[in-house]
């Protein structure tokens, strides 16, 4: 296991008061937190600072850390022989773990401030993961597999880093930015505590034809000028298959034609609509005959699209 100097990470002395540790952490958090910092490497720095504070802010964990002795950062070391009996409430495999695993799994003070009993049940950690889905996967629902490396007790109750495969069913109708919860797929609980949950942050790739707004979908409907004027029957691709759409005569550019229930749908039956947004597209190449026909149209029409401007 590699040693990390948590005091040096926070820039405080070993005998720093809890208040000084908190003040140092707050200053560094404001500097490196990914929500506020654009500095290169800030996220990694924030992770280091967070790991140090997580241990040093808790009196029991700090005492356990101090008992590890001082080593040069990055040096391989093993805790003293009696360390595990004094602080651990589970068996550790020191070769597989890093310092953060070690302190995440020893009993510290609860969030409410009271000390935990050494063998009290403790819930497993929650995990978070980002999931990238194609539009089609989000529309129809899908099953995804994760490979994770987690610190948890093995069959002999020995805490070690182990690979874990998780298979998750993503329901249909999820949208970009949504969060999903997979119950019980976080870290295993300790001393009979409940297992943690896995939280998924959903990112849905943009689709070349459709864009989602909640459960509603929008797509462009390019129309020739004569289709917009006269109306037309057009074949349209939708996520659930091709359909025939009746475009009414006199359709204006920007007009939305609603295809009820053809948006994203959820397993509970709620569904959005698909809106085809009309675009008038003019031909860029016209032959002599077509040019003459447009000329006749111009001569015979009194239509002025700019009448409201005069």
């Amino acid at each position: 296991m590699k040693y990390k100097d948590y005091y040096a990470t926070l820039g405080v002395e070993k005998n720093a008061t809890p208040e000084a540790i908190k003040a140092a952490y707050r200053k560094l958090a404001r500097k490196y937190h990914p929500d506020v910092s654009k500095e290169k490497g800030a996220e990694a720095q924030f992770k280091e600072v967070g790991e140090a504070y997580e241990t040093l802010k808790d009196p029991e964990k700090r005492a356990a850390y101090d008992q590890l002795g001082r080593h040069a950062p990055g040096d391989e070391f093993r805790p003293p022989p009696d360390w595990q009996q004094s602080f651990g409430d589970t068996q550790f495999s020191f070769d597989d773990l890093d310092l953060a695993d070690l302190f995440a799994n020893i009993a510290g003070h609860s969030r409410g401030g009271g000390a935990r009993a050494r063998n009290a049940p403790r819930p497993g950690q929650d995990f978070e993961a980002a999931v990238r889905l194609t539009f089609d996967q989000a529309f129809a629902g899908t099953e995804i597999e994760f490979d994770m490396t987690v610190a948890e007790p093995d069959a002999n109750g020995m805490l070690r880093r182990v690979p874990r495969k998780v298979k998750v069913r993503i329901p249909k109708g999820v949208t970009d930015g949504q969060k999903l919860r997979v119950p019980g797929k976080g870290a295993k609980g300790i001393n009979g505590g409940r297992d943690g949950d896995l939280y998924l942050d959903i990112h849905v790739d943009a689709h070349p034809l459709y864009r989602a707004d909640g459960l509603d979908l929008y797509m462009e409907l390019p129309l020739a000028p004569w289709e917009a004027v006269l109306g037309a029957d057009v074949e349209l691709p939708t996520p659930s298959g091709r359909i025939a759409l009746k475009v009414p005569a006199g359709t204006q550019a920007g007009q939305k034609l609603r295809l009820a229930g053809r948006g994203l749908s959820r397993p509970d039956g709620t569904s959005g609509h698909l809106y085809a947004v009309a675009q008038i597209v003019v031909p860029t190449v016209v032959d002599e005959r077509q040019r003459a026909l447009f000329g006749q149209l111009k001569d015979s029409s009194t239509f002025n699209p700019r009448a409201h401007m005069s």
Binding site: Y25, A29, V168, R169, R194
Partner: protein, 104 residues
């Protein structure tokens, strides 16, 4: 080797959870949640009900509040509620920006 598949639950307005479940999922205390409700950062289904229930989307909000509290070592839950509001506003604007960029 076969692995059993687990269903993911969407944390949106359709699901309902109790305040005890929200405490468990967020890591915040019930007292913290009450302050977030008073500040308008969280809304129970019925604020006058004897036992508050929340939409499951509140898990996302409450976990974000816990993350911000821990990340910035914030002591004051009232201040946390304001930070959370600003954070949600930024998220919504970024989402809208992505949506509008996708339309270009």
């Amino acid at each position: 080797m076969k692995f059993e598949s687990t269903s993911a639950l969407v944390l949106d307005e359709t699901g309902t959870i109790s305040i005890a479940q929200l405490v468990e999922a967020s890591g915040l205390s019930e007292a913290d949640l009450q302050v977030l409700v008073e500040c308008g950062a969280l809304s129970p289904r019925d604020v006058r009900a004897p036992q508050w229930t929340f939409s499951s989307h509140c898990v996302v909000t409450a976990r974000e509040a816990r993350r911000l509290r821990d990340d910035f070592a914030l002591d004051d839950v009232h201040a946390l509620a304001i930070v959370l509001r600003f954070h949600e506003r930024i998220d919504a604007l970024e989402h809208e920006l992505r949506r509008l960029r996708a339309m270009l």
